[in-house]
């Protein structure tokens, strides 16, 4: 770590660990409810557990992106952050909004729109919070003597994510229009601007970990984010097939969303090729595993499994079934959770000054969480495909089908237990690194050059 203000990232990362743990807890509540054990129904009904599970995911990933930005931008621009104090205010207010929202969900206080459940008054606080963050990073970039493509791509992604939050706040009487603009937030985030953020973090990690020339990495970064927008913007159409929007979206969404895996394939090839070209043995092998793993798993989860049900004639049957949950889990894990865990793994030794590289816990955490998540995806796939054939194709009643597929949720919970074991080990490793230290400040990171 070269700059004192980079320590700020630690507090964002610690928040990530806390929110991720809570997210898993609510996941289990839902898994058990699907199996028929809904004993907590009176206190945490399914819709509350679901809102907590998905919103915590969004909040911890955003917290992770912010932490990553606070770590990366000083390093890339060779300057201290504009204001560490503002960063702390922003983190604390974000936590308050998150906690109030989560508690509110348990008392039926929400907006009830998938992924955007946070109640309106809190939405405004989120906007103020994100604007503060953007101001803080913007001023840092503005005052810096140098900027880099990596930091600019990352920043563009964050600004665009903030702007795209706004269409989700317009009220429409028509459910179709409501849904249409809700996807401007959700789709254009996760299949658009978040990929910019992911690409930026990935490029930074590859530059640091492989030692491949920055010009080469940043050139391919442009190609990949170019492909993302080329396919992803009109790819939004795959959400418009069956919501009451015009029929041409079947063709537009079908063609462009079928191209979406290309960006993820590009990302995977990019990471692998850069790794193979690597001229240096970076001691932080775990960070490298998460980085390359992220590039590969995002292709499998977001690219390949997304493609599996994106064509209109397939989606006609899978739309609104557990097949979506199958794709959703591996996509978010591969593309976004793993990139955040990668940057945390890379940053922790530098922030704390403890070269606790390649611990057994860290290695096990990587394998258990990935194997667990693949198992969960498999369980969702089996349950989802069975649901499609029984309910949609054969016309069996919903409740009967749910009873038929209950047993696959036992598989889901077993796999989720393996996954959780991995995450617990990751968090133990995180705690073992200890707190950030100014003793970690060095003119040049000895392990970087």
């Amino acid at each position: 770590m070269k700059f004192k203000s980079q320590k700020l990232a630690y507090y964002f990362f610690a928040t990530c660990m806390l929110l991720l743990s809570l997210q898993l807890l609510y996941g289990f509540i839902m898994g058990f409810a699907h199996m028929g054990f809904d004993n907590l129904h009176d206190y945490v009904p399914f819709n509350a557990a679901r809102a907590v599970h998905t919103n915590l995911l969004v909040v911890w990933l955003l917290t992770g992106f912010m932490g990553a930005t606070y770590f990366i931008v000083p390093d890339e621009t060779q300057t201290e952050l504009y204001s560490v104090k503002l960063g702390f205010i922003q983190l604390i207010s974000l936590i308050i909004v998150g906690v109030v929202a989560v508690i509110g969900f348990h008392f039926n206080w929400w907006e009830g729109r998938k992924f955007l459940e946070i109640p309106r008054p809190l939405d405004y606080l989120v906007v103020v919070n994100v604007l503060t963050f953007i101001f803080n990073i913007g001023m840092t970039l503005f005052r810096a003597k140098r900027t880099s493509t990596t930091s600019m791509v990352l920043y563009t992604g964050l600004v665009a994510a903030a702007l795209l939050y706004l269409p989700g706040m317009i009220y429409f009487e028509n459910q179709t229009m409501d849904s249409y603009f809700r996807w401007w937030v959700v789709h254009l985030w996760v299949e658009g601007v978040w990929e910019l953020i992911m690409g930026g973090i990935l490029a930074y990690l590859l530059i640091k970990l492989t030692g491949v020339d920055r010009e080469v990495i940043e050139k391919w970064l442009y190609v990949i984010v170019g492909l993302t927008f080329l396919s992803g913007i009109l790819g939004t159409g795959h959400h418009y097939y069956y919501i009451g929007a015009p029929k041409y979206w079947l063709m537009v969404g079908g063609i462009f969303s079928a191209l979406e895996p290309l960006a993820f394939l590009g990302m995977a090839l990019f990471a692998i090729v850069m790794y193979r070209r690597s001229g240096r043995e970076h001691p932080n092998k775990i960070a490298l595993m998460w980085t390359i793993g992220c590039a590969i798993m995002s292709f499998v989860g977001a690219g390949f499994l997304g493609f599996a049900h994106t064509l209109p004639n397939v989606n006609m049957w899978t739309h609104g079934t557990l097949v979506t949950a199958m794709h959703g889990h591996l996509a978010f894990w591969g593309a976004y959770a793993m990139i955040v865990l990668a940057i945390i793994s890379y940053a922790m030794p530098l922030i704390t000054g403890r070269k606790n590289y390649n611990s057994m816990y860290g290695t096990l955490a990587f394998w258990l969480s990935n194997i667990g998540m693949i198992g969960m995806t498999g369980a969702f796939a089996v349950a989802g495909i069975a649901q499609v054939y029984l309910e949609r194709k054969s016309g069996m009643e919903f409740g009967l089908v749910q009873q038929e597929i209950e047993t696959h949720f036992l598989g889901l919970i077993l796999a989720a237990t393996v996954f959780t074991a991995g995450i617990i080990l990751y968090i133990i490793d995180f705690i073992k690194y200890g707190r950030p230290s100014d003793e970690a400040l060095v003119a040049l990171d000895s392990n970087q050059e």
Partner: protein, 142 residues
């Protein structure tokens, strides 16, 4: 071989072009949706029903137009499938409605609230969804 500045232009021009096409299609969609969704039928009751739908996060268990969660049935065609009486009974029940053991929150709605939700679901069932949900194609009775 591609240079960095060419790569940058590929990104910038591609993004601007496809954003432009997307905005153009959005304008067309905004103009087409009223007819396709029969928005003239969105009465104050339908709108009140939508607000009740959102305030109780019905999408946290159910889907409508295939969107939401997968814990409880798809409701787009629920008015046609179950009829007004069944839906109102589920909404007004003071104990959790639990078909086949899976519990719904006991909302204990008033008759007026339940009527509004029914109006919303009835409107939703009449929207042209480009063929969704499809009729089952496998005949299991043979």
């Amino acid at each position: 071989m591609l240079s960095k500045s060419q790569a940058r232009w590929f990104f910038i021009i591609g993004t601007i072009f496809f954003s432009g096409v997307f905005l153009w299609l959005t304008v067309d969609t905004i103009n087409s949706v009223p007819a396709q969704t029969k928005s003239a039928n969105i009465t104050p009751a339908v709108n009140r029903g939508k607000i009740i739908w959102e305030e109780n996060n019905c999408m946290g268990c159910h889907t409508i137009f295939g969107e939401g969660a997968y814990y409880a049935p798809e409701l787009t065609k629920s008015f046609e499938r179950r009829g007004e009486g069944y839906i109102k009974a589920a909404l007004m029940s003071k104990t959790p409605w639990s078909p086949r053991g899976r519990k719904m929150v006991a909302y204990a709605m008033t008759e007026e609230q339940a009527n509004d939700v029914v109006a919303f679901l009835k409107w939703a069932g009449e929207v042209d969804l480009n063929g969704f949900p499809a009729k089952p194609t496998i005949n299991t009775s043979k």
